[in-house]
């Protein structure tokens, strides 16, 4: 009997502990996403903050939590291989400023919202999809929003970064990739960089 107990213990340790790890990871991700949304909510709804300060703080939060380098490279899609490293660096810098500004601007529409994290799916090694429902004030119908979250192995502090935001099935990143593909194919990477710079200065 003792022997069987030991064997069962071994099997348990071998098989179930990694699953417990996966559950633990899912919990950590839920906490991370909840904290991120709460931080954003607090900034947008802080009546004591002037509009400029709200945008500034939102931008800092967004910059700290988006996986900007990866996003920039992803949006270049098939063109990434044919573009020089220096141009990719330049594009990444402009894209990062552009996306932070666009998201900070977009976040102004989301005061009075409540987010409920529904589930966490593992997409790949260290890549997760956190699904949630966003409820607007007085509304019965929630909006389905997914965050694609990367876990960075070598991160010193916060290991999680959001790689994509998918609203009702619409991935911002995939849409941008298609848009950029069109511009690069027709006019080249320089045209895309100037286009983004133009938008940055116009929206400032």
């Amino acid at each position: 009997m003792k022997v069987i107990n030991r064997i069962l213990l071994c099997i348990y340790v071998l098989v179930f502990n990694p699953l417990a790890y996966a559950d633990e990871e899912a919990e950590k991700l839920k906490v991370y996403v909840n904290n991120l949304i709460t931080d954003g909510y607090n900034i947008v709804n802080d009546a004591s903050l002037p509009a400029d300060e709200k945008v500034k703080r939102s931008s800092t939060l967004i910059r700290a939590n988006l996986h900007l380098d990866w996003m920039a490279k992803y949006t270049l899609g098939r063109h990434k291989k044919s573009i020089s490293a220096a141009k990719i660096k330049e594009f990444t810098e402009v894209y990062s400023r552009f996306i932070v500004q666009a998201y900070a601007d977009l976040s102004k529409n989301y005061s009075d919202v409540k987010a409920v994290v529904k589930k966490v799916n593992k997409v790949d090694d260290n890549v997760f999809l956190v699904s949630m429902e966003i409820f607007k004030k007085d509304s019965d119908s929630p909006v389905a929003v997914d965050y694609l979250v990367h876990k960075l192995v070598n991160a010193k502090q916060n290991p999680y970064k959001v790689g994509d935001i998918i609203t009702e099935g619409v991935s911002i990143l995939n849409s941008q990739q298609t848009e950029f593909d069109n511009i690069i194919s027709n006019n080249g990477i320089d045209a895309l960089i100037s286009n983004l710079k133009e938008k940055l200065s116009k929206n400032n």
């Binding site: 071994c10 260290n126 890549v127 997914d146």
Partner: protein, 267 residues
């Protein structure tokens, strides 16, 4: 040979379990490490396509040149007609009223879902959508309050396009209709013909009332899309593509294809 025999004899059950436990712990630690560390940060590991991940199709746009022209025309109509009306609607109604209007409009189209669930042979969908309509129309005061959702009665809304997809019809080419906007070929009959003809309420309610409801639903929908369209016009490098991707992917997210369905790929 005798050495092997000796070794076999010397392995008692206790030793075996101890050895197994140690191996298990080492393997578990190793597995934990693999799970914890996984891969490096290489972008290939992170490459993904949200649609493919969810077994959805990707857009096919063979009429892009013509579509772009109609899109430009629709944008002018939107700028000078629909957007200002939606803005006025947004300014003069509070969130509470807007949400009641949204629920009311949704409820009017619920019988269309019941009919399509019937065409799909989905008894659960039929019952859920029927009771959703019945409960919201009575306890929800003509559908202004979504009471049924609180009882878990919230089946996804269905159209003839959803039914066709249920039987394995792909989205087909993306087309832009004048005044209406972008839609895929499979769903093209929905807004103009099937949503009206297949909804039993069309035959029981006054035509003027149904027209008013359609008008209100268009304005309400336009208002709801305001943050997205503003975002696109401000930040998009190519608004046509941004809108096309948004319309197409949002629709695909709601579609359920039969098991084992593979999307046709076009070049």
């Amino acid at each position: 040979m005798s050495l092997i025999k000796l070794v076999i004899e010397s392995i008692t059950v206790k030793r075996f379990t101890k050895c197994f436990l140690q191996t298990a712990l080492i393997l578990n630690f190793a597995l934990g490490e693999v799970l914890a560390k996984g891969s490096d940060d290489s972008e290939e590991k992170y490459s993904y396509n949200y649609n493919q991940f969810n077994v959805k199709c990707t857009v096919y746009d063979p009429y892009e040149k013509l579509n772009r022209k109609i899109f430009a025309f629709n944008s002018v109509v939107d700028t000078f007609l629909l957007r200002p009306v939606a803005k006025i609607y947004g300014r003069f109604t509070n969130d509470y009223t807007k949400n009641r209007v949204g629920s009311f409009v949704d409820n009017i189209s619920e019988p269309l879902s019941t009919v399509n669930y019937s065409l799909q042979g989905n008894p659960e969908g039929i019952l859920k959508s029927f009771w959703r309509f019945a409960i919201n129309s009575t306890f929800g005061i003509a559908g202004m309050f979504d009471v049924a959702s609180k009882f878990g009665l919230k089946p996804p809304q269905q159209t003839l396009g959803s039914t066709l997809a249920h039987y394995g019809t792909g989205p087909g080419p993306y087309i832009v209709l004048p005044f209406y906007g972008g839609i895929n070929a499979r769903d093209a009959s929905d807004p103009i013909i099937s949503d009206i003809l297949l909804n039993p309420l069309t035959y029981s309610l006054d035509k003027k009332f149904m027209l008013t409801v359609t008008g209100v639903s268009i304005v309400d929908m336009r208002y709801k899309l305001m943050p997205l369209t503003d975002y696109v016009s401000k930040n998009s490098s190519d608004p046509y593509i941004a809108v096309r991707e948004a319309i197409f992917n949002q629709r695909e997210a709601k579609i359920v294809y039969p098991t084992g369905y593979k999307c046709q790929t076009f070049k």
